[in-house]
Amino acid sequence: MKYELVAGFETHIELATNTKIFCSCTTEFGGEPNTHCCPVCIGLPGTLPKLNKKVVEYAIKAGLATNCEIAEISKMDRKNYCYPDLPKAYQISQYDMPLCQNGYVELSSGKKIRLNRIHIEEDAGKLIHRKGDTLVDYNRGGVPLIEIVSEPDIRSVDEAKEYVEKLQLIMRYIGISDCKMQEGSMRCDVNISVRPVGSEVYGTRTEIKNMNSITFIAKAMEYEFERQVDLIESGGKVIQETLRYDDVTNTTSSMRGKEDAHDYRYFREPDLVTINVPKEQVEKIKKSLPEFPTQKLKRYVEEYDIPNTDAQLLTKYRKIAEYFEEAIDGIKTPKTASNFIIGQIFRKLENEAEKEEFNIKVSAKSLNELIKLLDSGKIKMNLAKSTLDKMLETGKNVYELISESDMGGIDDNTLLELCNQAIQQNPNAVNDFKNGKVKAVKAMVGFVMKNSRGKADAVLAEQKLIELMQ
């Protein structure tokens, strides 16, 4: 029998606000243990939380970027459980009235992965196990998180990978999180089940907790898919349980079964008031959002005539898209810019992370200047390419690297000579010019161009002529 994989994701993303969700401590990653803490985020008796408005704003951005409805009224709830990294013994989260609901993320195939909800909550601290001792670092406690809960719409490991990448891209695009999986600012729980192809009924699911790399997610899902299929094929039954993935052995193992599932005793957080999000605020946030990759992609293809595959590369990271858009300012051939970026510039970047950083020596303005020279025919493609390489090496701009002569033009002395000739041989035009007929200079420029066989720079020639006549 052929089996199909069914997966849904719960994705935790740390928001890049400056301060924590309920106090004014910094959210900076790392730091000496327990130095980014205050009475509120270590839950000292008597302290009260105060909701950071930026967190609500960022979560709304995430919601809008994933096509969610934004709740006008929502609230915070307490999720009660006892663990040393949770100083209040409850996590302030959202239970039945999340901030965002009913969204979706569209994959490149056009398939929509529906999102059930996005809610805001606080992160917990971290346990450090050392020489038989367990220590707690509360620096991360109270860092704001959003949890994005998808419907079980994912049907393959590739879809899963693309879904996670898409989320990452979207959240980085709108600037609400760096989504660094290795630093834990993005973590995924995967709910996974299998069923015979064609079946409408979901199988029993297991949940793989806390995965922090796309590679591991893919491996864990592959392993878990096989495990469940083998189990069913051999007459066994999948039991609902929470699993952890071991990246060394590439296996999953049970953390706890269904009967040990926590009873979180959710109830409304009495220390915080209702969150009201007026429609106007949502509109305002909507307007502040950058153009999304999908919109950009469409525009690049339609307006700039850029092939779809290239447009995808250009829109994948916000910095590249922004660079591209600045580089083509006032340029007739955006495609040239696209080719330079995807070709020569990308070659300087080792990996995806570097592409995303897009830290290169050539500013968008410099590239713009280079293309303008190319467009105006002053330089040929070969020269443009070699110059761009030099620019990428040295960080110098195009005018620092190529002289007039390099441009297949003429040098300053030749230009001066030609201009003097023009003045001597066109006394009428000179007279006209001196009598205020400014346009007369054009005839002389024509003379210079003709005598230089088109090599001279018309603009420079005009400047020079005017200078000489005055």
Partner: protein, 489 residues
């Protein structure tokens, strides 16, 4: 004879240099040494802090600087109000050794006013109790008769203020914890509107019900302290501050035509001598020109179960943090984190606290949530609505504070259910978030004080304090009779 407010009187004496602040403070410290063996009202005495503040105040006086009303007045705080550098235990073993690193907002404010803190006062453990006897330090006693309890949970404050070893104190009221001990000790206790006083730094029992308020010997003092501590605090999201003017401005207004509501449900099952005292008080009000309006408040019968479900539910969550990991008591005999937390909590919490944590955990558990917590929340809405409607027909509601007078020592803790039932008159106000002031209204057959409460609509502290002051001013020393101990000036 009309009762004089102590705060204004002492403040005047300080200004006139009839007494120095150090002398005044020393008198209180001395009397605490003398009386506290009997009363057990203080759990931490802070003579050095007190004298230091008194010195600052005396310096200001000698320089001829103007004094605030509360400046230099010796006072106390219930031991669940966070005080930086001063132990704050909630009278629980589990907070043994815990010293806060920050001040509660109310204390931060009063400290800046140079309030003279004499020490921290006794209370039922985590404010759970009606007799102060669940305190790990043993209960505070009633200054009118030390064979009886001071009440709870703010028993220590009431005992100290009633016994004249503090001019005033701040308590907290979750289900009656200010009003009930004030009633038992024959003094004044104001539970403000939910949100009127910042809860930041008040160690939570039940967050949606807790409110800090003053315990004083006179209505005027209650008004002065309330006016001072009622302000908007950015650190408390539920804080709203005062509605408008200071209550002191309208304290002595005429109450002719004031509509005083009487709901018969408040009188179900109250002791005869308590009932008689309240009826006498109603007569006083009639003589002052108030109009008595009778109405029904049937929803009151749900108040107790609603209170105990909601309060315990919130408490079970609020008290989860005491695990021995970061501060306070920690059991030393363990082999795993789980065992450490379990043993710490088993040994650190007292019986009553454990009972409420278990009750609260139960009512929030999957499968029981709808039957208990959800239903109680919905009934809470009904109670809020019923009070709202009541205030359409009357300005203030008059009711007994407690159906009885103070318990004999040891009685309350021996029968928790019977004790819970005595909260019947105080809890509705917390459920509805309303302000209420308890004032003395006579003495029971056993010679112990009886209290009555005036309940107002949200943020109508001015109205209830005005009505309370008029009663106090009319009945005077006969009813507002101070216990024969402590400081006399």
């Amino acid at each position: 004879m009309a009762v004089k407010g102590k705060i204004a009187q002492y403040s005047e004496m300080l200004k006139n240099k009839d007494i120095s602040c150090i002398e005044l403070t020393q008198k209180y410290i001395d009397e605490i040494q003398k009386c506290d063996d009997k009363l057990n009202s203080y759990v931490t005495v802070t003579p050095d802090t007190a004298i230091n503040t008194a010195k600052i105040v005396d310096e200001k006086i000698s320089k001829g600087e103007t004094l605030g009303l509360l400046e230099g007045i010796p006072m106390t705080l219930k031991d669940n109000i966070s005080t930086k550098g001063i132990k704050t235990t909630c009278c629980s073993k589990i907070l043994d050794g815990y010293t806060p690193i920050y001040d509660a907002s109310v204390w931060e404010y009063l400290k800046n006013q140079n309030a003279v803190l004499l020490g921290k006062t006794n209370m039922d453990e985590f404010a759970m109790g009606s007799s102060c006897e669940t305190s790990c330090f043993g209960g505070a006693k009633n200054p009118h008769n030390i064979n009886y309890v001071s009440g709870g949970s703010s028993g220590g404050v009431a005992s100290a203020v009633g016994g004249n070893i503090a001019v005033y104190g701040l308590g907290s009221d979750t289900g009656g914890s200010i009003r009930q001990p004030a009633s038992f000790c024959g003094i004044v206790g104001l539970k403000p509107t939910y949100g009127a006083v910042s809860r930041y730094g008040l160690i939570a029992y039940a967050s949606s019900l807790d409110q800090i308020g003053p315990i004083t010997t006179t209505v005027e003092d209650a008004a002065i302290v309330y006016d001072a501590i009622s302000f908007y605090d950015d650190k408390d999201s539920t804080s709203r501050g005062k509605s408008s003017a200071n209550t002191i401005d309208t304290l002595k207004n005429d109450i002719k035509g004031l509509k005083i509501g009487i709901a018969k449900e408040y009188f179900d099952g109250i002791r005869d001598d308590v009932k008689t005292a309240i009826e006498k008080a109603i007569k006083v009000y009639e003589s002052l020109g108030a109009k008595i309006v009778y109405f029904d408040l049937p929803v009151l019968k749900y108040a107790l179960p609603v209170y105990y479900i909601l309060a315990c539910a919130e408490a079970s969550s609020n008290l989860g943090r005491y695990d021995g990991i970061r501060y306070g008591f920690k059991s030393e005999d363990y082999h795993s984190i789980h065992e450490m937390v379990s043993k710490t909590r088993s040994a650190g919490f007292g019986e009553e606290v454990k009972r409420r944590i278990m009750l609260g955990t139960y009512v929030l558990s999957a499968g029981y949530y709808d039957a208990y917590y959800k239903k109680a929340q919905s009934l809470r809405g009904n109670i809020v609505k019923a009070f709202k409607e009541a205030f359409n027909i009357c300005d203030v509601i008059l009711a007994p504070t407690v159906p009885i007078t103070a318990f004999e020592n040891g009685h309350a803790v021996s029968d928790p259910i019977e004790t819970y039932l005595t909260d019947i008159c105080t809890v509705p106000v917390n459920i509805a978030g309303l302000p209420a002031v308890s004032i003395p209204c006579g003495f029971g057959n056993n010679g112990l004080p009886i209290g009555m409460q005036l309940i107002g609509d949200m943020f109508c502290e001015s109205k209830i304090l005005n009505a309370a002051w008029q009663y106090e001013n009319t009945t005077g020393d006969d009813v507002f009779k101070s216990a024969e101990m402590g400081v006399k000036l």
